[in-house]
Amino acid sequence: MSFTNFYANKPGMEIKFVGLKNYIKILNKEDIWETMQATAHFMFWTLLLQALIGLGLALLLNKKFKGNEILTTIIVLPMMLSPAVVAVFWTYIYQPQTGIFNYMINFFYDFGEFTMIGDVQLAPWSIVLVDTWMWTPFTMLICLAGLKSIPNYLYEAAEVDRANKFQQFLHITLPSVLPFLLLALLFRGIENFKMFDLVVELTGGGPGSTTEVASINLKREAFEKWRTGYSSAFAVIMFVTIFGLGNIWVKVMNKIKDK
């Protein structure tokens, strides 16, 4: 279908083979690059924040204390919820005049009135924040599994060699957790690249097209403009991108593992 000029809402129309025209059209369009930029921005910051906070939480949870298990469950709760429904209640929390988010921010430092979702500057961050809130537990759990797999004798040996805590962290903990962290980020990266439900209910791609990530752009082309051939081509491009990036990531991961 990606090589034709098929429109799903025009059944009588003759379907023509157009070769690579759709692909050329897509790659030459300027707003596609804006879309990709929005997606990249969203992915970069969510992955960075989730990696740092997730690893931090895992390190803390690994110091076994009372109530450890129940606290883990509480922290994991957000990631079990439906992203679309979560987005709806975050729009309520982000309400400019009455939302609790603005109230809390202004409680600590008075910024005056601002809107998270409606503002061109802040809207991408509102998505990053919700995604981080939802999915940090995922990186946390996988890092935790990694931490638990480190054998104790490594630390014992380090202790004998008089390595201090920081050196132990740098030379034992970090290298052993890194493969797990990268794996978690791979899963999150794939998920975030095709992120749709959260963004569509939170900002709908707006204001303007500042938060129009790839999936939303695709939905607009496919189900609002009904350019089926064109959007199939875009879908293929997206899939190839995910697949390519995923494969590169796996290669990097294996290299780090081998070291």
């Binding site: 799903a8 803390l60 949870l61 110091k63 076994k64 204390f65 009372k66 606290l71 883990t72 469950t73 509480i74 922290i75 994991v76 709760l77 957000p78 079990m80 919820l81 439906s82 992203p83 679309a84 429904v85 709806v88 209640f89 309520y92 929390i93 309400q95 005049q97 009455t98 609790i100 109230y103 809130w133 996988i142 935790l144 599994a145 990694g146 630390y155 014992e156 794996l183 978690a184 794939i190 690249f193 095709k194 749709f196 569509v200 209910e201 790839a214 999936s215 695709l218 939905k219 496919a222 189900f223 959007s231 199939s232 875009f234 879908a235 997206m238 899939f239 995910i242 697949f243 995923g246």
Partner: protein, 318 residues
């Protein structure tokens, strides 16, 4: 002497100070993570005015307005008309009357909720059933190109749902499956199957081969051995897999919003469309959200051990 040694803590054990500070930080994070959820539960019990007051009200008079609005359709009536009606029979009628409205009938929420249940359970059952069969085959038999096949199965999950939705939409329109329960069950089964195969293959790898071999020596056929020996052994794994499939089908939004319109629409695309008079009816939306999320939360808390195992499964295996 020995007691002195015992009282010295091993350098590997975290000190009580670092333990306590870790606990404090975790509690702070858990609290922050819970605030949005708690806020939603509170909002569902607020009256429409309290829900949009500024500064946000933490202490408020509880009201069932949101819940009543969620389940009913109402129409505004004049005071004279309301007076002419017989006195309200139930507490919810009384509540609606006090807002100068009458109940016109039940809302569509319950139907959507039921759709979610039907589609969720249907697709979970099918994907776990087929996943168990395929997982068993992958775990026990020599299959040419096994690794590639397994990776191919997993890669179906990498497609963005929107990308797949276009061809599926066209196929379903031809087959008359769009906006039907059956269509959605088939679709979710297809998506869940990759996860089910992977998880169940892993769980079945852990069951020792000897059990089945012993059973087959005793005259069981392979199928009998599978149902009588392997399935009961893999029950924990099956439970964990079911939960994952169920949660996915329950939370799915992209396919639901594009492929269902009325008959088979599930709750996630419906909840954002709950609209009250003069803007969004936040308490009703909150009530819908809470009702929709609570089953998942209870699931998570009760079955946390299986869940945590399932999530970290892929990573630990490697």
């Amino acid at each position: 002497m020995s007691s002195a040694i015992n009282s010295v803590r091993s350098p590997l054990e975290p000190s009580s100070f670092s333990r306590k500070s870790a606990a404090t930080l975790i509690i702070i994070y858990a609290f922050i993570a819970l605030v949005p959820i708690a806020w939603m539960v509170m909002t569902s019990f607020k009256s429409a005015n309290d829900a949009v007051s500024y500064p946000p009200k933490v202490v408020f008079e509880p009201s069932m307005e949101g819940w009543v609005n969620l389940f009913t359709q109402r129409s505004r009536q004049s005071k004279e008309y309301l007076k002419s009606l017989p006195p309200p029979e139930t507490w919810y009628e009384e509540l609606v009357r006090s807002r100068q409205m009458v109940i016109a009938g039940p809302s569509r929420f319950l139907g959507r909720f039921l759709n979610s249940l039907i589609i969720g359970f249907g697709s979970t059952f099918l994907s776990v059933f087929f996943g168990a069969l395929a997982g068993y085959a992958f775990s026990r038999f020599k299959i040419p190109l096994k690794e590639d096949l397994l990776f191919f199965i997993l890669s179906t999950r990498m497609f963005p749902p929107i990308a797949v939705a276009v061809p599926i939409f066209l196929m379903y329109r031809k087959l008359g499956l769009s906006d039907t329960h059956l269509g959605m069950i088939i679709l979710y089964t297809m998506v869940n199957l990759s996860l089910a195969v992977w998880l169940l293959k892993g769980f079945m790898d852990e069951i020792p081969l000897e059990y089945e071999e012993a059973a087959m020596v005793d005259g069981y056929t392979r199928l009998q051995a599978f149902f009588k020996i392997v399935i009961p052994q893999a029950m924990t794994g099956i439970a964990a897999t079911s939960i994952f499939c169920m949660i996915f089908a329950w939370n799915e939004y992209a396919f639901a919003v594009l492929l269902t319109f009325s008959e088979a629409q599930t709750a996630p695309p419906f909840i954002p469309t709950i609209i009250g008079e003069g803007g969004l009816d936040w308490p009703a939306i909150a009530a819908g959200t809470v009702m929709f999320l609570v089953p998942v939360m209870i699931f998570t808390v009760v079955l946390r051990k299986h869940l945590l195992r399932g999530i970290t499964f892929g990573a630990v295996r490697k």
